[in-house]
Structure formats: C-alpha cells, structure tokens
C-alpha cells in the first residue's frame, strides 16, 4: 500500500491500496432458490471493499467486477486476481486500518422486472500494514 497522488481525482495525496485476491464462488444455488431462473438475463458481480476511517464513517470501493451471462459457468475459481479499479481512499485511512471487509455482491438483471442487489454470504477481512511501501517497480 502506498501514499500516492491520485491524478484522476482530488488534489491531495491519498492512500492507495494494492490487493491481490482469489475468489471461489458458486453462484448457482441460493439458500432456497435457483439464482439463474427463466427470468434472469445476467448477473453483474462485483467485489466491494468496505471499511471505516477517521474521515468517513463508511467507505465502499468496488475493486473488481464481472458480467455473468445466463449460460456462463456459474462457478468461479479465480486466483491471484489484481484489482480492476484503483483503490484510493478519501484521505489517509488505509494506513494501519485493520478491518477492510471484502464482499462479493451481484445485481440481478432480469429479462423484465425487478432489479435486486444481493450480497453473497462469504466475506474476508483484510488488514492493511502500518507503514507505507517504498516505491517498487511493477
């Protein structure tokens, strides 16, 4: 994790988080229902990092997303994934933050009808270190 200038956003320096993750998920069967029923066109899956900082009581950052169409393999075995989107905090709240919770959620897009947002039952807590990383070449 580093402290970098976010050129795309506010002018001050903000904390930049770097996470590598694995996802193992079975989206096919919910607790009492079949997720991909006749009226489901696709699922929009996304990985959210949720945490609290001194600056903000609640922060949510979408790190990665994927579209799963009806007919795609509903089982995910993703390893060593890099985040798709930059994980910038609004301020310096990542340094020493022990509790970043990663959850997988999805937006059900029907052929017609209601658009529910569902959060998966698993979640992971990720602690960030107390010190910034010295510049590395990626």
């Amino acid at each position: 994790r580093k402290n970098l200038e976010d050129f795309s956003g506010p002018k001050d320096r903000s904390d930049f988080g770097f996470i590598i993750f694995d996802i193992t998920a079975d989206i096919l069967n919910g607790k009492n229902y079949f997720v991909f029923d006749w009226n489901v066109k696709q699922l929009f899956l996304f990985l959210t990092a949720e945490y609290s900082t001194k600056n903000n009581a609640l922060n949510q950052v979408v790190l990665w997303d994927k579209i799963m169409l009806r007919g795609d393999n509903p089982r995910l075995f993703l390893k060593d994934m890099k985040t798709k989107y930059y994980f910038f905090d609004d301020g310096n709240g990542l340094k020493g933050n022990k509790n970043i919770t990663l959850t997988l959620s999805w937006n059900v897009v029907p052929n017609a009808g209601i658009l529910p947002l569902v959060t998966g039952s698993g979640h992971v807590s990720v602690p960030f270190p107390d010190v910034y990383e010295i510049s590395k070449n990626y």
Binding site: G9, N55, V61, D90
Partner: protein, 180 residues
C-alpha cells in the same frame, strides 16, 4: 363509403357535441397527468420512469429500455446500486452504477459512478472541478426495468413527424369517437 360517412358525421355534430368531446379529451389528459403526479409522490422521484438513452450500461440495459425509479430519502446510497443522476445545468438523466462511496457519520455522502460498458469512471462527465456526486444530484435508484418499451419516446424524439402523426391520430380518435 367510410370517408363520406366520416364527413357526414362531422357535419352532423353540433356545437354541444363538440364541446362534450373536447371535455372528454381534457378529462383523459387530466387523469393521465394526475396518475403521473401520483407516481412522483409515491416514488419520491421527480422522474419515476426514464428511458435509457445510451449504450453505456450494456449488456444490462440498451437504448430504448424503460427504467422504474424510486428516490426515498432514507434509502442509503451503496456501492453497486444503479442510480439515475443529472449533472448541474444539464437536463439529460444519466443511468450508471455507483462504484465508490464515502459517507460521513452525519449521513453526508459523496460517491463516484461509472457505466458498466465504459472503460473509465464518470469523472470526465462531471462538471469542471467536480470529483464526486451528492445525494442532491440523484433523480432516483433503478428498481425495475422493461426492455424495448421506451423506444417509442426515442423514435418520437428523432423523428418529429412521427410524433405529430401519432398525436393527430390520437386526437382525431378521441374527438370523433361516439359514446353509445
């Protein structure tokens, strides 16, 4: 034939019948407006039904799809939600997904949006110097959707002749139809 019958009908209609038909028409228009206003009150959104205008949310939504919105004040804005927002000074509503939120203890929230089908987030769309959206920019949250139905509005916009023809046909029907 039928054309001569129609012309005969028009001549036979006296003033009283014409006024009656006009009032009928006005009543239909008023009822439609009342239903629309009622929807605005129930959903809390100034624009409870919107038509998707661009392909930035494909493959979920396509141009011409219809979205049903709610905008309840106590509904928190959370990452992953599909919001419809208006940028200051612009009339066109934009339908994109919330990808980042930072909420203070007192409920003050600032958030960032991005179209599913776009490579980059919406910062390029926001006003000069604006980095975040706020609750006041939100027209509503997308709760339901119907495909294709909104195409009629888009066609009427792109082909005004079609719109006038449609209105003329509707007007003629309502004014001329007989109540038995």
């Amino acid at each position: 034939g039928p054309a001569m019958d129609l012309f005969g009908d028009l001549r036979r209609m006296n003033k009283r019948q014409l006024y009656y038909q006009v009032l009928n028409f006005a009543m239909i228009v008023s009822s439609a407006l009342m239903i629309w206003k009622g929807l605005i009150v129930i959903t809390g959104s100034e624009s409870p039904i919107v038509v998707v205008l661009s392909g930035s949310m494909e493959p979920a939504f396509h141009r011409g799809d219809l979205l049903f919105l709610t905008n309840f004040h106590d509904d928190p804005i959370r990452a992953g939600e599909i919001v419809v927002f208006k940028l200051e000074g612009r009339d066109i509503p934009i339908v994109h997904r919330v990808i980042k939120i930072h909420e203070k203890e007192n409920g003050n929230i600032k958030f960032l949006t991005k179209g599913d089908n776009n490579e980059v987030d919406d910062r390029g769309l926001y006003k000069e110097g604006q980095n975040w959206l706020e609750k006041k920019d939100v027209v509503g949250r997308a709760r339901g959707f119907l495909p294709y139905v909104g195409m009629v509005t888009i066609i009427m916009n792109d082909y005004p002749k079609f719109k006038y023809a449609l209105l003329a046909v509707m007007g003629a029907y309502v004014l001329l139809k007989r109540e038995s």
